[in-house]
């Protein structure tokens, strides 16, 4: 009896969950008719199921599943928004051009060309020595004399009154 009980108790859960084969079910059914201990074990299982099932069903009834799904969907979408820096970095990782690193010599070449062209453009502007220091000069009230010395790097603009010139002539 004890041996029969221990072997049936292994099948009891399968029987309870309706997963037992026809042969197993017949075996368990026959045993239950003559074994109060296994009957008690089965009753306990049913009691436990009722105990768990009732609050779960109640909670499921109260829960708004479409709302929960909306919440989950929103969370997923908010995580999808990555920063511009991360997206840039991911773009750089994805780009096969950057992976191959052919852009390094390309950018270096552009930089060198830019530097050379800047120098050429700047050279086209005449240097100071090619032109006069005084580009133009005019006065409504004075006569003007301009003195330039390259040796001392001095330029003097001298303003004369009419009276000064008269006195210098006399």
């Amino acid at each position: 009896m004890i041996d029969s009980c221990s072997s049936v108790s292994k099948l009891l859960e399968k029987y309870f969950d309706q997963e037992a084969t026809d042969k197993e079910r017949l075996l368990v059914k026959g045993h239950l008719q003559s074994c109060p201990a296994c009957q008690h074990a089965l009753t306990s299982m049913e009691g436990l199921r009722t105990l768990i099932k009732a609050p779960v069903e109640e909670a499921a009834r109260l829960e708004d599943f479409p709302w929960i799904w909306q919440k989950i969907d929103r969370e997923i979408r908010s995580q999808e928004k990555v920063s511009w820096w991360r997206s840039l970095r991911s773009w750089m990782d994805i780009s096969p051009l950057f992976k191959k690193k052919v852009w390094i010599p390309a950018v270096a070449t552009i930089a060198v060309l830019l530097f050379i062209s800047t120098q050429v453009i700047l050279k086209k502007i005449p240097s100071y020595s090619e032109t006069s220091v005084v580009e133009y000069i005019e006065s409504e009230t004075y006569n003007i004399m301009v003195y330039e010395s390259e040796k001392t790097k001095t330029t003097v603009i001298w303003l004369f009154d009419e009276e000064d010139q008269e006195s210098s002539r006399s």
Binding site: M92, F98, K101, I104, V107, A111, L122, I125, S127, Y128, T131, S132, V133, V134, E135, Y136, I137, E138, S139, E140, T141, Y142, I144, Y147, S149, T152, K153, T154, T155, V156, I157, W158, L159, F160, D161, D164
Partner: protein, 146 residues
């Protein structure tokens, strides 16, 4: 490697940007002084002026009246009051790494006493003088700090 290169690229771009921004301005040194043959006093900041004027007019006294170092921005005028109700107006017209073209106007009652454009280069001094002041003459000296 990529991070280093991006950093170098950023530094290069920023240096180009800062160079282009600073390219449109220049600091000038403006000195206004009285030169005469009365006395022998020479202000310490005008000793270089005596050497420059000696071949032209050998004044015995140089007295500093005013010194300023305004920063000129491209096409923006900076004016400064001068002697006897005159006003000096400076405008940066063009800038190159070796020179700066500056328009100089000396005005008296909105009349242009002098209107000129000069090219200031490193070490170059441009002096404007002649009008009488006291027992001597007034001289305005301009130089650029590159």
């Amino acid at each position: 490697m990529r991070r280093i290169f991006i950093t170098l690229l950023l530094i290069f771009t920023l240096s180009l940007l800062s160079a282009s921004l600073s390219y449109g301005q220049v600091q000038v040194r403006l000195r206004v002084f009285e030169a005469s043959n009365v006395g022998t006093g020479i202000d310490s900041s005008l000793k270089d002026m005596r050497d420059q004027f000696k071949p032209l007019v050998d004044f015995s006294s140089y007295r500093l009246l005013k010194e300023e170092t305004p920063t000129l921005n491209l096409n923006q005028s900076v004016s400064s009051p001068a002697h006897l109700g005159r006003k000096i107006e400076l405008t940066l017209i063009r800038q190159h790494k070796n020179f700066a073209d500056v328009r100089v106007k000396i005005k008296r009652e909105e009349m242009d006493v002098l209107n000129t454009q000069v090219r200031l280069s490193p070490g170059r001094t441009v002096s404007i003088g002649g009008p009488k002041h006291g027992q001597g003459v007034i001289i305005i000296t301009l130089s650029a700090q590159f």
